[in-house]
């Protein structure tokens, strides 16, 4: 097995002596799309933030591409939750996307024409090029999410950490994001995304990490994404439990099905 893109060992994060993540070991496969799932308050966002060095762990070791975050910073792009920023902020779509270039520029240097062109290209990738000069408060939720995605694409990283990229978006945005994720995988990039809609995990992702303060399971979707693991994580109240996961896992051949819709039907109607 090749070196993992992200390696988390014995990670414990606590807020005021209350553990949010407890002794977590995770290895994220390079070049794969990995979903992080778990109930509310399971520590999904905290895991992302710990990898990014935004929260300081009580214990544990995190390596990105074999290095500390501080040294691997240029290789990591981050898509925060859409709701964490003020969308009334007086700025344009292009300007927000340009923020993705700031890390490469360093202190005091301003983005120039080269950065603008990269930002425009990233906007085109998410189908938002027509909105470049738009004030960000005029965007719909899905458009906001695509702008955030474009901002991460501009960083041209190897590892993309996304906190709920599909949260509250329209169908068109969801398709656009999936497209971008697959495109990233084709180029050998690693994507880790906090994900809520369990029914789309097998379709969108290669690997999954199921957690609830502790790690419940991790690995390829076909192996780790089982009803039993989900029950453990969600305490029996699994949303969409109706055959959400094959248990035992479906034959690997299902993955190769030429019609993804048929694939999904096959996967989801089974356990009901």
């Amino acid at each position: 097995m090749t070196e993992p893109a992200i390696e988390v060992n014995d990670l414990t994060v606590a807020y005021h002596e209350r553990p949010v993540l407890w002794d977590m070991d995770v290895r994220v496969r390079a070049g794969a799309l990995t979903a992080i799932v778990g109930p509310n308050g399971a520590g999904k966002t905290t895991l992302i933030k710990a990898i990014l060095g935004l929260v300081s762990p009580a214990a544990g070791r995190i390596r990105i591409l074999g290095r500390k975050y501080r040294e691997a910073r240029r290789e990591v792009a981050y898509v925060p939750q859409r709701g964490t920023v003020d969308w009334d902020f007086p700025t344009s779509v292009l300007d927000v996307v340009l923020m993705g270039t700031y890390g490469g520029l360093g202190w005091m240097r301003r983005p120039g024409r080269k950065e603008r062109e990269r930002a425009e290209a990233a906007l085109e990738q998410v189908g938002m090029e027509a909105f470049a000069q738009r004030q960000i408060s005029q965007l719909s939720g899905g458009q906001q999410q695509r702008v955030f995605l474009a901002r991460a694409l501009v960083q041209d990283a190897s590892v993309y950490l996304m906190d709920e990229p599909f949260q509250g978006v329209d169908a068109r945005t969801e398709r656009a994001i999936v497209e971008v994720l697959r495109h990233l995988r084709e180029r050998g990039k690693t994507v880790v995304a906090v994900h809520h809609a369990l029914q789309t995990v097998p379709e969108y992702f290669d690997d999954v990490v199921i957690l609830n303060v502790r790690k419940i399971a991790a690995g390829p979707v076909a192996e780790a994404f089982t009803e039993q693991h989900l029950r453990t994580a969600y305490g029996g109240r699994v949303p969409f439990l109706q055959g959400v996961a094959p248990s035992p896992p479906a034959t690997p051949g299902v993955q190769e099905s030429p019609d993804p819709a048929a694939d999904r039907r096959g996967t989801f109607s089974g356990g009901a």
């Binding site: 902020f89 700025t91 301003r110």
Partner: protein, 370 residues
């Protein structure tokens, strides 16, 4: 206009612009109240430094005051982080504590010197021209103007050089941290700038009015633009204009200059609130009224379309009938019909019957489908 008037106005403009620029980021960071806290608590720094150097013009006073401002920010955050009080309560607990210590110290020990409470609260910009900066017997102009000018240059330079970092840390502190720009460092550096500005402005306009000069111009400008560079320029402009108009208002009323300047920032904000092209109250009311008439026009056309050619068309499709049927007041019905006529969607016959034009019919059908 005497030379003194010119000097006072110049100082007023410099103070106003110096305050408005960092004020933009205070407003965007939702920290407007922090300006209030800082502008009060800096008094403690001034008093303590005064006890050490016993010279009201000593530069150490400015440094100590700015440090107290930053200390205020730190204490508020410390208190807030205990999670025992909310942030606004933390602000309201910290700065009166520091300010009141300063007030006690002044009244107890500094009663005889030139550090009186009126000046603290309201400033003394009118006397600023009498405190000159002299080097080797040469008069270089009012001290306050030099101090404030230096602060203005510092503010402009900082915002120009660190524009990108300030913007990023204000908009998305999480990303800023992930990219390696320390939002905490930027935050404290910025609050130092705010404190320094408050100290300088404090001398001219007092601790209360600093708040008005920092917050009102950006708040007004925020209603007029949605681009950060324009917001900064407009805020500076509004601050400067309020300062000059305020000066002449004070002249006319024979009132406090600082008070008039602050009043003018308030008036400017009020004007922007009422008359801003997109976000103003008046624009909002007009927009809603227009939408109401437009929507009513659509209802009217669909109504006419429904009864067109029917047996009751003559009765239904009349302006006076709309009052009963669509429950419109006679006045509103007249306005809607006139609007639709003007748009070429409806024509009224001599007998008062309403008929759709071909365009109106197409429009009404389209609306019924969608």
């Amino acid at each position: 206009m005497t030379w003194i008037d010119v000097e006072i106005q110049l100082l007023a403009v410099v103070v106003a612009v110096s305050c408005a620029l960092p004020g933009v980021f205070l407003v965007l960071r939702r920290m407007a109240l922090m300006s209030d806290a800082i502008s009060h608590s800096i008094l403690l720094g001034i008093v303590l430094a005064f006890f050490v150097v016993e010279d009201i013009t000593h530069p150490l006073l400015v440094v100590a005051a700015a440090a107290t401002g930053v200390l205020t920010v730190g204490l508020v955050e410390l208190l807030h982080r205990t999670r025992k009080v909310k942030e606004d309560a933390a602000i309201a607990l910290v700065f009166p504590a520091l300010f009141s210590i300063a007030v006690i110290l002044i009244s107890r020990y500094a009663g005889s010197v030139h550090l009186d409470l009126d000046a603290v609260l309201l400033g003394e910009i009118a006397f600023a021209p009498f405190r000159r900066l002299e080097v080797g017997g040469m008069d270089l102009g009012p001290r306050g103007l030099w101090l404030m000018g230096a602060i203005l240059i510092l503010n402009v330079l900082t915002i120009l050089l660190f524009y990108k970092e300030l913007k990023l840390c204000t908009f998305d502190a999480g990303l800023a941290a992930a990219l390696g720009f320390s939002p905490v460092l930027v935050h404290y550096a910025f609050m130092t700038l705010v404190s320094g500005t408050a100290v300088g402005a404090f001398d001219s306009v007092g601790s209360i009015l600093v708040v008005a000069l920092m917050i009102a111009p950006p708040a007004a400008a925020y209603l007029l633009t949605d681009r950060l560079p324009h917001l900064l320029l407009l805020s500076g402009g509004i601050g400067a204009a309020s300062a000059v108009v305020g000066f002449w208002l004070a002249r006319g009323l024979d009132a406090s200059i600082a008070g008039s300047m602050a009043t003018m920032t308030g008036v400017t904000f009020l004007l922007a609130l009422l008359f801003a092209p997109d976000r103003g109250v008046v624009a909002g009311v007009r927009r809603r009224a227009r939408q109401r008439v437009e929507f009513a026009g659509e209802m009217l056309m669909i109504h006419v379309l429904n009864h067109e050619g029917g047996v009751r068309a003559r009765v239904e499709n009349r302006e006076d009938h709309l009052q009963e049927h669509l429950r419109w007041s006679p006045d509103f019905a007249r306005r809607v019909v006139r609007h639709a006529e003007r748009e070429g969607l409806i024509i009224r016959t001599q007998g008062g019957e309403l008929h759709l034009t071909p365009l109106g019919r197409e429009f009404a059908r389209h609306r019924m489908i969608h």
